[in-house]
């Protein structure tokens, strides 16, 4: 699965899925409701171009033993991200089996109760291994509301 990082900020509304045993890419859009497949095309350069019209930041990536995950930093924590981050989100490649803790440790934020760290928006054990496309989000535990 690849998740949209386009300027519309619709993550995870545009989804690309290339099943392992297929050379086709499926494109889903789920901006408001249930994901709807809007296209199924052979996987070649053309699909990338067409996909870009839907999602401007679609970047195919295929490396053995690696997976793409996303790191999202909120508010003051955005300062630790490199400049290419968009809306506080960056995609990174990590080895298969990387845990939430290992992924977030790559960034200079306090790894104690000063930070809230969630996986795909869920409260999890930080030793949980990540899957392709996962999003790890961190923010400072300074209360608001």
């Amino acid at each position: 699965m690849r998740f949209c990082q386009c300027e519309l900020g619709c993550e995870p509304s545009v989804v690309f899925d290339k099943p392992r045993n297929s050379n086709a890419v499926r494109i889903f859009v789920s901006a408001y409701e249930t994901p709807a497949m809007i296209g199924k095309l052979p996987f070649h350069t053309g699909i990338v171009m067409r996909a870009k019209r839907v999602c401007q930041s679609f970047l195919p990536r295929a490396r053995i033993g690696q997976m793409m995950i996303r790191i999202k930093m909120i508010a003051n924590y955005r300062a630790v991200l490199p400049p290419e981050a968009k809306h506080g989100v960056i995609e990174i490649d990590v080895p298969d089996g990387t845990t939430v803790y290992e992924a977030i440790s790559r960034f200079d934020i306090p790894l104690n109760d000063e930070s809230v760290i969630v996986l795909n928006g869920l409260t999890v054990d930080l030793n949980t291994p990540l899957k392709e496309g996962d999003m790890v989000t961190a923010f400072s535990a300074i209360a608001g509301g």
Binding site: G9, A75, N76, V118, A141, I142, A143, G144
Partner: protein, 610 residues
């Protein structure tokens, strides 16, 4: 006595008679101050069944024993009355400067009774108390009113007033102080309007004597240092105010979007703290003696939404913004300014417009009725509706009754997302179960300020709780309800209090707050005693609700929360599981299985049994 003046100012607006009276020191100690004292007097003196907009309703302004002391954020007051929106209790909190100035008049409480025959304002300058004509400011917005009344009294005075919304008895009318600060919720401004009371102007130099001035100074310096250390580290509350929160709740899938049809907003980046900071922020604007300074002055410099003022806060973004599907930040900021100027609660205003938008899109109400199309995301229509609500014009009359009455009137009560007829704040309880229990049992209807367990479920303060779990939430909600009753009674602000004057155990514990209360009053409280007093306050409020006809039968959540699973985000597929928590909650509160405080509990707290 110290810390408290032990003085009440009572103004009968019908007769213009002004009296002062002393507070029994035992009552003072048992009910802490502020919100606690107010419910004591309201319950003792008023029939809870009165019509909230009748002269019989009492309107109480209440400061606490830490208001106008060196304690950081000792700048709050509570407006307590019977709510015309909910029929339950209203207790709305505000900061800024007015509360400190109010306490410096030499009174802890102002009680307004009756109804003036003509518009009036009340000037309190220590013992000089005058009921003056407000004919010249009636109809004016809160900013103009404030400027005019300061010009004719003193620039040293501070003003709390209503705008057109309060005058026109809109049920989401707020009482604004210092122009931009609001005792917003539950229609307290409509109660003030019903009394023909346009404004209260306060000034004076009677700081309350403290039991241990040096001790209070030392603990305040220490607390301010702790706040300062976090600010130096990069506190989001300093950098963004609460406007950074949409990104947090969006990540968790509990950001109210399009009248709670969704839990995530695809354009959240357009209305978050970074967008606000980059485009419109001018500077921070702290309340009096606040080391955190979460308020912010903003300006839309040009274009159709040109304006200058304060905000928006998170709750405004999640109601007038995402709640209405609005992603135009300039229009959202302008809508916030208008609410402040007209004197309106942004949460109820926004969520009522959101319900109307859903009703329009579903074809339940027509363009003809509204006077224009009203689709989700139509920011210009939203702004037009705000004006109609404040001035009770056309379809604005329906909107001014709030979402519960609006949805009911047009045959679709299932669309109103309210408890006790009050609109939800910005945390969807389908993905934050503790908040659902809080909303359902709150003494003032849905409110995060009644015991914000989002501190744990969302923000990880003091520990991160799983928001999807119901386990342990009844105890947590009870503890937070009591802790907030304590903070509201003390005169401190929740933002600083929760983090800096409670100790961070599994359950926050008011060690430092109790110490501050003692340094102020000399009452010699233990932390256990102040928590018990808070329980007393909360339980007495519950008794008021029962007698007002807003008892346990209202401990429910609206249809959408119970029967329509969230369609998106991390909480996808979830509903609020109130049934799993409510019986245990009643037990933890010492209430019977039907939700009534038991005789034993009332006796333990020293409350009247009937």
């Amino acid at each position: 006595m110290y810390g408290w003046h032990l003085k009440i100012l009572r103004v009968n607006l019908t007769t213009h008679k002004v009296t002062t009276e002393d507070v029994d020191p035992k009552i003072a100690r048992d009910y802490l101050g502020g919100r606690g004292w107010a419910i004591h007097y309201l319950y003792k003196e008023m029939n809870p069944a009165v019509d909230p907009l009748s002269p019989e309703n009492m309107l109480i302004f209440a400061t606490g024993p830490l208001t106008a002391t060196p304690a950081p954020t000792g700048n709050r007051y509570m407006v307590v009355t019977k709510s015309p929106l909910t029929g339950a209790l209203a207790h709305s909190n505000s900061g800024g400067e007015f509360p400190t100035w109010m306490k410096r008049t030499g009174f802890d409480l102002f009680i307004f009774e009756g109804r003036a025959s003509e518009p009036v304002y009340v000037l309190v300058n220590e013992n000089q108390v005058e009921v003056r004509s407000a004919a010249h400011v009636w109809g004016k917005d809160t900013h103009e009113t404030t400027d005019i009344l300061k010009a004719e009294t003193s620039q040293e005075a501070r003003v709390a007033c209503i705008g057109p919304a309060g005058e026109n008895l809109a049920l989401m009318a707020a009482i604004m102080n210092d122009k931009h600060r609001a005792a917003a919720r539950s229609g307290v401004g409509a109660v003030m309007g019903s009394k023909n009371l346009k404004a209260v102007v306060a000034m004076g130099n009677k700081n309350p004597p403290l039991h241990d001035t040096e001790g209070m100074r030392a603990i305040s310096v220490e607390t301010s240092k702790n706040v300062g250390a976090d600010v130096k580290k990069g506190s989001n509350m300093r950098i963004y105010g609460t406007s950074y929160v949409p990104q947090v709740t969006n990540t968790l899938g509990i950001l109210p979007t399009r009248n709670f049809l969704q839990g995530t907003f695809e354009h959240v980046h357009n209305v978050d703290g970074d967008a606000l900071k980059d485009q419109y922020l001018i500077r921070h604007t702290p309340c009096y003696r606040c080391p955190l300074s979460c308020g912010r002055l903003t300006e839309v410099p040009d274009g159709p939404y040109k304006g200058k003022g304060e905000g928006p806060e998170y709750e405004t973004i999640s109601s007038l913004g995402t709640g209405c599907g609005v992603s135009n930040l300039a229009a959202l900021v302008k809508a916030n300014y208008l609410c402040n100027e007209y004197g309106m609660d942004t949460i109820t205003t926004g969520m009522t417009i959101a319900v109307a938008m859903e009703m329009y899109e579903k074809g339940y109400i027509s363009e003809e009725l509204i006077g224009m199309p009203l689709k989700f995301g139509d920011h210009d229509a939203m702004i037009a509706m705000i004006k109609k609500m404040a001035y009770n014009e056309g379809f604005g009359k329906d909107l001014a009754m709030g979402s519960y009455r609006l949805a009911e009137k047009y045959g679709h009560p299932e669309l109103a997302v309210t408890t006790r007829k009050q609109e939800f704040p910005g945390y969807d309880p389908r993905g934050s179960q503790g908040m659902g229990l809080l909303y359902a049992t709150s003494n003032k209807g849905a409110s995060h300020m009644e015991g914000d367990v989002a501190y744990e479920e969302v923000f990880g303060v003091p520990v991160k709780e799983n928001p999807h779990s119901t386990e342990g939430k009844p105890e947590l909600v009870k503890h937070f309800q009591d802790s907030f009753a304590l903070i509201d009674s003390s005169g401190l602000c929740v933002f600083v209090a929760i983090r800096y004057v409670f100790d961070k155990n599994r359950l926050i514990w008011p060690q430092t707050l109790a110490a501050m209360m003692n340094l102020s009053t000399g009452a010699g409280y233990t932390p256990e005693e102040v928590m018990k007093a808070a329980d007393r306050v909360y339980t007495l409020e519950r008794m008021f609700l029962i007698k007002a006809g807003s008892g346990p039968e209202w401990d429910v959540l609206p249809y959408r929360m119970l029967h329509e699973p969230l369609p998106d985000g991390p909480a996808k597929g979830m509903v609020a599981e109130l049934d799993k928590m409510l019986p245990e909650f009643y037990e933890k509160r010492g209430w019977d299985e039907k939700g009534y405080p038991t005789k034993e509990k009332l006796m333990e707290l020293g409350l009247p049994i009937n």
